[in-house]
């Protein structure tokens, strides 16, 4: 047991915290809003080796664990980085797991091409509102029970959306089949996406909360800082407490995936759902305690409010995921149960 970052992880965190602070200030996020993607930021991330860092060395990757990648995901989330880093990483890992000789692997690991994952099964060959779909060269997804890799061209334009994400519909119907019965492989990728996105959402939430408490201590009304009112303090305390728990649970899910824990899928879904709600709650509290200014485009907290919602909803309606998870944990033959 070690519930702190290793020295290596701390080193990675410092590098990427500095990287995103430099390369991805809020104005860069605003500039990338239309496409939901910054080619320049992606290029620099590729130079850092991030797109392939959690790919095995034998496939040209960095050989890092998901836990290592999660450290990067947290920093990317903190700065709302407009790049499909998590989608790309899990798609490439999934492609290699099913077709290690696929001719796109080398380019993808290097970050010269971009991969993504359709988070919901395609309907009549079409995967709707795929994150990173506006820019990905390679799209993995589930179509009629098969894991396929689709090859249509990236549209280069996002469907305009609440969170300025690179969402686009992509065709999977004419794709190449990686596994005829590929739901297990696809589910593994979705779980990795959920766990890493959960960590990313906690990074987002931490920054949202920090923006809120900082503003509340600077802003005075009635002669005292807004942050000195007990009602404001308690509002912050509630979401900060949930956030502390969300951070632990997200990292636990990533650890479970890394270590092959039987609970990994369940924990990943739980971590994602909880982190999504918590990130929204943190952003909402900080927005409220910004008063009118939070609502102004030039303030950053509104970016976090919108993106917390969008990064949660890209998976689907939360209630659908709660019910899917219920089917897992409440199955008659489940060994789960609350006290398990």
């Amino acid at each position: 047991m070690r519930l702190e970052m290793t020295d290596d992880e701390i080193a990675v965190q410092e590098v990427f915290a500095g990287f995103f602070a430099d390369q991805c200030p809020p104005d860069a996020v605003r500039e990338a809003a239309d496409l939901g993607h910054s080619p320049d930021l992606w290029k620099r991330l590729a130079e850092m080796g991030a797109p392939g860092m959690a790919v095995a060395v034998e496939h040209g990757g960095g050989g890092a664990t998901l836990s290592d990648l999660a450290v990067v995901a947290a920093e990317a989330g903190r700065r709302l980085a407009p790049v499909p880093l998590i989608e790309h990483a899990v798609a490439v890992r999934g492609l290699i797991a099913t077709d290690p000789g696929h001719d796109a692997v080398a380019d993808l690991v290097a970050g010269d091409r971009i991969a993504t994952l359709a988070l919901r099964a395609a309907i009549e060959g079409e995967a709707r509102l795929v994150p990173g779909g506006a820019v990905a060269d390679v799209v993995l997804g589930l179509a009629d029970g098969a894991l396929v890799v689709g090859g249509d061209a990236a549209p280069g334009a996002a469907q305009a959306n609440t969170g300025d994400l690179a969402l686009a519909n992509r065709t999977l119907g004419d794709g190449q089949t990686l596994a005829a019965a590929g739901e297990t492989e696809w589910r593994r990728m979705v779980s990795e996406w959920q766990a890493l996105t959960a960590v990313g959402l906690t990074g987002l939430a931490q920054e949202a909360l920090s923006l809120g408490t900082t503003y509340a201590m600077e802003r005075e009304q009635f002669g005292v800082p807004v942050g000195s009112f007990q009602a404001v303090q308690h509002g912050f305390a509630n979401v900060a407490t949930s956030l502390e728990g969300a951070v632990f649970l997200a990292h636990k899910a990533v650890w479970a995936l890394d270590s092959g824990n039987a609970d990994a899928d369940r924990l990943a879904a739980m971590a994602f759902l909880f982190a999504g709600e918590t990130a929204q709650a943190c952003a909402a509290a900080s927005l409220q305690y910004h008063g009118g200014y939070g609502y102004a485009e030039e303030y950053d907290i509104q970016l976090y409010y919108r993106q917390a919602k969008a990064r949660t909803l890209v998976l689907g309606p939360p209630s659908a995921e709660y019910r899917r998870l219920a089917d897992v944990v409440l199955a008659p033959d489940s060994t789960e149960g609350a006290a398990a």
């Binding site: 969402l167 009635f222 009112f229 927005l287 409220q288 009118g292 509104q302």
Partner: protein, 389 residues
């Protein structure tokens, strides 16, 4: 108790509905979607109906439309998604002038406001004073028969299309903050005024307005020198009677039902059959019924001449907080579909849930934050002592 409306008010409601059906066209809604929450055609048509002057109290020379009729008008406007800000400012500003203003202001400004020829804007908030409005720092210094104004206002919504701003200024910095304030009606084409847009998450446009050596004849002063807080209290009294915000949620609920009727559910059927969504829709409808009760009670109190300030605080708190909650519920129900924004050419009915999600949070801020309203309910309704603030 008797919740029925008098026959003349019901007839008025029908008249309003017919008017709005005709005038709140898709073109008007698209005009509003430019960010300036105003349609001049609609505003002038309402003025022509006599609804602006009608709303001014009889004793001030207005049409004395009853608070009940006003509440029905405001309710229907909201249900039709019509813009109401310009109406509220016009009626409010005209009423204050008629109660406290000089003959010049009454003759020059009021007729133009009530005919719809001129628009007003509120100039209370400043960068450093939002809820704490009495902390205003914009200076007005007397210079003979004139005043020289320097400072900055924030959230001067509609200033870029308006003709007058009702400006709260500090005329005496050496007394307690409530006692050194003075109001002016300021023509927005006065030299020295600069208006900068403030765009918001909800794509509404507000403004920051800058006052640099703006010179104003003393005739533009509203109320006594250093008597601004009394003017503010009068302004708040009128504003409460014309405040919207009780019926934010109905158009959102309807838009969600429209979507759910056609949207396929993951397991077949339509989303409208989803038991979780159905429960949420009913809960939201109940909240709307509560808002309807609050709005009716507030209008009733106003109609009988009773104070309705606390009821107004509760209405605002409940309506805006439930609206924000609903905006999350229905975004969530739509999932990724809810995220997709309207793009040019879509028309005003596409992506209304998404737009509402981005708009909703500000409703718990403007016109009195939820925190301020909770303070008010705790003190004035529950009799708890003033907490530190």
């Amino acid at each position: 108790m008797d919740f029925s409306y008098p026959a003349d008010v019901e007839a008025f409601r029908t008249e309003v509905q017919e008017f709005l059906t005709e005038h709140v066209t898709d073109a008007v809604l698209e005009e509003v979607d430019t960010g300036t929450v105003h349609s001049d055609d609609l505003h002038k048509a309402m003025a022509a109906k006599g609804w602006l002057s009608g709303a001014v109290p009889t004793e001030l020379g207005g049409g004395g439309m009853s608070p009940l009729k006003m509440s029905v008008l405001i309710e229907e406007l909201q249900l039709f998604r019509a813009p109401i800000d310009a109406m509220g400012v016009a009626i409010g500003m005209a009423s204050i002038i008629l109660e406290l203003g000089n003959d010049f202001l009454k003759g020059e400004v009021v007729p133009r406001l009530l005919s719809g020829d001129a628009l007003g804007a509120f100039g209370y908030s400043e960068p450093e004073s939002g809820s704490d409005v009495a902390a205003a720092q914009t200076k007005a210094v007397r210079d003979g028969d004139e005043w020289v104004i320097n400072g900055q206002k924030m959230w001067t919504t509609m200033a870029h299309v308006a003709d007058y701003v009702i400006l709260l200024t500090r005329t005496n910095p050496d007394v307690p903050k409530h006692k050194g304030l003075t109001f002016f009606i300021v023509p927005l084409d006065s030299p020295g005024i600069e208006i900068q847009p403030v765009w918001t998450m909800g794509y509404e446009r507000s403004n920051a307005t800058f006052y640099d050596e703006v010179r104003l004849d003393d005739k533009w002063r509203l109320g006594d020198v250093d008597g601004g807080w009394n003017v503010m209290k009068t302004a708040l009294k009128f504003e409460r009677g014309i405040a919207g915000g009780q019926f934010y949620s109905p158009p959102l609920i309807d838009a969600t039902i429209d979507w759910a009727t056609d949207a396929p559910a993951p397991d077949g059927g339509a989303m409208i059959d989803d038991p979780g969504l159905r429960e949420s829709l009913v809960r939201a409808m109940i909240d709307v019924e509560v808002c309807r009760c609050f709005a009716q009670k507030t209008a009733y109190l106003a109609d009988t001449g009773a104070p309705f300030g606390v009821e107004g605080s509760m209405t605002k708190l409940f309506a805006s907080e439930t609206f924000k909650k609903h905006s999350h519920w229905f975004m969530d129900a739509m999932g990724p579909d809810g995220l997709v924004k309207r793009v040019e050419g879509d028309g005003p009915h596409v992506a209304f849930v998404e737009e509402t999600f981005r708009h909703a949070p500000v409703t718990t801020i403007y016109g009195g934050t939820s925190e301020i309203n909770r303070n008010m309910v705790a003190e004035a309704h529950l009799g708890l002592p003033r907490a530190r603030r």
